[in-house]
Amino acid sequence: MKREQRQTDTWLERPSTIRGLWIGFTIVLTLTVAAQAFIHIKGYFGVDGWFGFAAVFGFGACAAMVIVAKLLGFVLKRREQYYQNRPEDDDGRTGSEQ
């Protein structure tokens, strides 16, 4: 399929829109944590009832998984042609980021 060379700037990609989206997202995030002041989350195992627990836990779990994936990537990632016509003594440890 041919690629369009002219990059069109749609509404969604304008810096002002993206800034607005970040502001909106931040407000929603703040609200979901603040709401816990009024809505009691009953913790089943103690810690999960703490204020903002799910927010910190969700963020922390994701950060940990991204870091683990990044580190494992150094060991396990190979270039795409690794399994095709593998020359001897080539461990395929390349892979350009883009």
Partner: protein
């Protein structure tokens, strides 16, 4: 005499007719056959409907129950969706193979004995491999071959287990087992191969992304979910499955995070989602088994939807890597919206089917006081949003302007996606009809304000983590090593070494034979030739001496024997 129409019959007949017809007739058959099968499924009463004797064993090829009907129902709904999606784009052979594959899955769902179960299990392996091969590329031919070898191997392990069990117990009945003997352990391993459990999980992300744009939609649904049903029927409450399921959950997330191919991301996320179900079967309580069943039902719909969305993109653009795609929301808005709904559903966002079904599993872990399991499931829910919920739509439809301006999906693909997206939302907003069909009574409401708030915090902050850590997730033009390395590289090398050893053994043997031949011709043969020692006539005295010596030896042997 059978009182009901076997539900696999319309699908098998459909497969044959689809292969023989074309155009509107084929389209009509492809859409009607799953609906007739659906009707037949709901004709099935509880209990054994048809029993017979096979090789001296009592077999029950048709047995109904709530959980069996529910799995069969979602299998044929998926067949309908897949047929609509590929109505005009899929090759006749592919569509026919997809129907036969679905028939195998429905056959397994209603199998009341292990022999019928095994036969349909193998039918699934055969026709799913055919669907992979219909991808039509060199890569799909090779991947299909690896796929079927893996499944035939799993089938052999399963057959050994079934054979041993039938020999021990004298019965082929499909009943709840404990993995405490050789026979039952073999059956468990054979089933787990199809569930893509470790260390065999690599077959799934290896093969499924190599199907055609329409074939992968069929592939996403049946094999792993029939394995989940088999686990529910055979090994509920087997504690080992909790650990296996948790491993699958995190394996799926981590590998999906490293992946660049859009359908392979979705394939890893199948392993992840099946992990939730396997874990639930391991917990084994009524709520957990309800959770596994409901989650399988919802999962087939949203995973089918995600594969449809990816398939429509690949069908229109020909590209399948995150690095080649991006910005497609401009010209493919319908595909983008449906893809996003599927992505939200898999992330169990409130108001989608994932929320109302997956939370049953967390609820079960909570009830049993499994603290670690509960927190790992919560972390995994965040991780699902990360690797599938945001990553898939972000890299395909947003990210950057790839310059691609494809048309939106063809009408039939669009219709299939809209249908499945509507089902995701319907089951999310109004789960009661699904709850009513579950094997055990449901005493659970997903929509309590604290529960919704907990999940909103969890998921939205996962979203924050995604966008803040985006620089760490740059896509690379790479593949990731997995256990399939063992049979694709190590196995080949081992075979090379083995053939080297056997080669040197063979050449050493040849050399030895030729030396022996030389010795014989130089030393032994002359003795037999005219003038040789054996050809001469010795004197009577020498002969008598030899006979005397032989007799003496014989007498001595007789003496020592006593």
């Amino acid at each position: 005499m059978i009182a009901v129409v076997p539900p696999i019959l319309p699908l098998l007949l459909g497969a044959v007719l689809i292969a023989m017809t074309s155009g509107k007739v084929r389209a009509a058959i492809a859409l009607l056959a799953p609906l007739v099968s659906l009707w037949a499924i709901w004709q099935m009463p509880d209990g054994v409907v048809w029993s017979a004797t096979f090789m001296g064993l009592h077999i029950e090829p048709l047995e109904g129950s709530a959980v069996r009907r529910l799995f069969a129902t979602i299998f044929v709904l998926m067949t309908f969706g897949g047929a609509l999606f590929g109505l005009r784009q899929a090759r006749a052979l592919e569509l026919a193979a997809g129907f036969a594959y679905a028939a195998g899955a429905v056959g397994v769902a209603f199998a009341g004995d292990l022999i019928t179960f095994f036969v349909f299990w193998e039918i699934m392996a055969l026709f799913s491999a055919l669907v992979v091969w219909c991808g039509g590329t060199d890569a799909s031919r090779a991947a299909g071959l690896r796929y079927i070898l893996m499944h035939l191997l799993g089938g052999i392990v399963l057959m050994v287990g079934i054979g041993a069990l039938v020999t021990q117990s004298g019965s082929a009945d499909l009943v709840v087992l404990r993995a405490d003997s050789f026979a039952t352990c073999m059956i468990l391993v054979g089933v787990l191969v199809n569930a893509a459990a470790p260390p065999f999980s690599a077959w799934l992300p290896d093969a499924y992304p190599e199907g055609s744009a329409t074939g992968s939609v069929f592939l996403s649904a049946y094999t792993t979910k029939t394995a989940v049903l088999a686990l529910i029927l055979l090994f509920p409450g087997e504690k080992l499955l909790i650990a296996v399921g948790l491993y699958m959950i995190f394996y799926g997330i981590i590998y999906a995070l490293m992946e660049n191919d859009i359908r392979r991301i979705l394939a890893y996320s199948i392993v992840n989602q099946v992990g939730f179900m396997v874990c639930a079967v391991g917990i084994g309580t009524a709520t957990a088994l309800n959770g596994a069943t409901a989650h399988a039902f919802a999962h087939i719909i949203y995973k089918g939807l995600l594969f449809m969305s990816a398939g429509a993109v690949i069908y229109r653009t020909g590209f399948h890597k995150c690095t080649d795609l991006g910005g497609l929301y401009r010209t493919m808005p319908l595909t983008a919206i449906c893809g996003i709904i599927g992505a939200l559903a898999i992330s169990s966002f409130p108001l989608t089917s994932g929320f109302t079904t997956k939370s049953l599993i967390s609820e079960a872990a909570k009830h049993e006081g499994l603290v670690w399991v509960y927190f790992m499931l919560a972390a995994a829910s965040a991780g699902v949003f990360l690797h599938a919920g945001i990553k898939f739509p972000w890299y395909v439809f947003f990210q950057k302007d790839s310059g691609l301006r494809p048309k939106d999906a063809p009408w039939n693909m669009g219709a299939a996606m809209v249908l499945f997206a509507a089902a995701c939302i319907f089951l999310g907003v109004y789960p009661q009809p699904l709850y009513n069909l579950l094997p055990y009574p449901v005493d659970y409401t997903a929509y309590t304000t604290p529960n919704v708030l907990f999940y909103l915090q969890l998921l939205l902050f996962s979203g924050l983590a995604f966008f803040l850590l985006l620089p760490m997730m740059k896509r690379t033009l790479t593949i990731t090593l997995d256990t399939d390395w063992l049979w694709r590289v190590a196995g080949t090398k081992l075979a090379g070494v083995a053939s080297g050893i056997s080669g040197s053994v063979a050449s050493a043997a040849t050399a030895g034979v030729s030396v022996l031949r030389k010795v014989i011709s130089a030393r032994v043969l002359p003795l037999l030739k005219p003038g040789g020692a054996f050809a001469q006539s010795p004197s009577i005295g020498v002969t008598a001496l030899w006979m005397l010596m032989l007799l003496a030896i014989y007498v001595a042997m007789e003496f020592w024997r006593r």
